[in-house]
Point group: C2
Chain length 202, copies 2
Amino acid sequence: MSGHSKHLPADERRAATVEAVVDLAAEQNPSDITTTAIAQRMGLTQGALFRHFPTKDAILQAVMSWVTERLLARVDKAAEGTTSPVAALEAVFMTHIDFVSEHPGVPRMLFGELQRPGETLPKRMVQTLIQHYGERLHRLLEAGKAQGELDAGLDVEAAAVLFIGTIQGLVMQSLLAGKVCRIRRDAPAVFAIYRRGIESNT
Amino acid sequence: MSGHSKHLPADERRAATVEAVVDLAAEQNPSDITTTAIAQRMGLTQGALFRHFPTKDAILQAVMSWVTERLLARVDKAAEGTTSPVAALEAVFMTHIDFVSEHPGVPRMLFGELQRPGETLPKRMVQTLIQHYGERLHRLLEAGKAQGELDAGLDVEAAAVLFIGTIQGLVMQSLLAGKVCRIRRDAPAVFAIYRRGIESNT
DNA sequence: TAAGATAGTAATAGATTACTCACTTTCGAA
DNA sequence: TTCGAAAGTGAGTAATCTATTACTATCTTA
C-alpha cells in the first residue's frame, strides 16, 4: 500500500497524482477531469494538489512525461529481443496494445491534447512523443524493406500512419463495446491484416 | 448569404446552429465548445440558442443526426456506382475521407462523445451510426470474400475495425501536422496498404 | 395597417471551475 | 523530546458555464 498514508513526500505525491489522472482518464473524457476529481481519487483535498503542482497544466505535463518514458522504454525493450524487422514491428505493436490495455485512458488523453488550440506544453510533449515513436517505426520499416522482408514498393510514411491508426481503431472499438478487453482480443487479427499489407509476396 | 439576416425561422436557425458547431469542432476540442461560442459564431446572443434547443445536449444530438444522415447517404451513393466489392470499399473510403476533409471536427466529435461516461443520447446516436457503418463494411467484405476478390481467410470483423482505424489514423496525423489537407494527400497510400492486406493473392 | 406569433436581447441565477491562503497536522533530525 | 520544515485542510475568490426570464424587435397575415 503506497497511497494510504496521509502524508507523502513531494515526489511520491506527484507520482500518485499522475497515477490518479491516468486512472481517471480510463473512466471518463480526459478533458473533463477536474482537480477536485483528482484529489478525491487520492483521498486529498483539492487545494493540496496545488502544493505540488503550480497549475493544472503542470499536472497534465507530468502525465505526458510519465507516458513518454514508460511507453517508449517498453516499446524499445520489446523491439530489442527480436530477430527481424517484422518481428520487431509485431513486438512493438503487441507491447503498445498491452500498454493501452493497462492504461486505456492514455491514448484518449494524447488524442485530446492534440485537439487543444494554441501551443500548450502538454500538447507539444505529445507531438514529440509521437514523433519519436514515428522515427522508430520508420527505422524498422526501412530495415524491413532493405532486407526484403517488406514490400519493395512500400510507402514507409503511410505504413507508419497506418500502424498508429490501427491502434487508434482498436481503442475506438473498445470504447464502442465499453470493454477494454476487446483491444487485446482483437489485436492479433487486426495486426495480421496490417502485416499482410506491408510484407513482400512470398 | 443564408446566415446574415437577423431573424430566421426556427428550422433554419437550428440548421445554422448545427453548422456552427461543426465548424467550431474543426478548430478546437469539441468537448470545450460552449454555448457562448456557438452563439457568437452565429452572431447571436447565448440565450437565444435555448429558444430553439431545450438543452446543450439537444444541440449535440442534432449535430449527430446531421452527421449520420449526410455521411451514410454519401457513403451509400459512392458504393452504388461500383462494379466490385473492393472498388466499393475504396469508393467508401475516399468518400469518407472527403467528408472528414470538409468537416475535420466531425470525427473528433464522434470520438469525444464515445468517451462520455453514462448513457447520453448523443453517445447512443454515435454508437448506432458506427454500427450501421460497420454493417455496410461487413456486407462489402463478405461479398468480396464470396467472389474471391478478398483473401479467403480474412477476418471480416478485424478488417472492419482496421478500416475505421485507418481513417482515425489519418485524422490523428492531420492533428499532428496541423493541416487538414494532409488527410487527402496521404489517404491513397494508406488505403493501398489496407487493400493489400485484405485482397487475395493474385 | 393592426395584432398575434415568432425570434432575439440583456441581465442574471446557480453551479462548477482552477487557484489561493491562513491555519493545522505530521514527520524527521538534533 | 523538541522544533522547524514539509504536507494537508478548509474556507474562500474570481471566472466561466448552462439555463432562465422579463422584455423588445421583427415578421406574417387577416
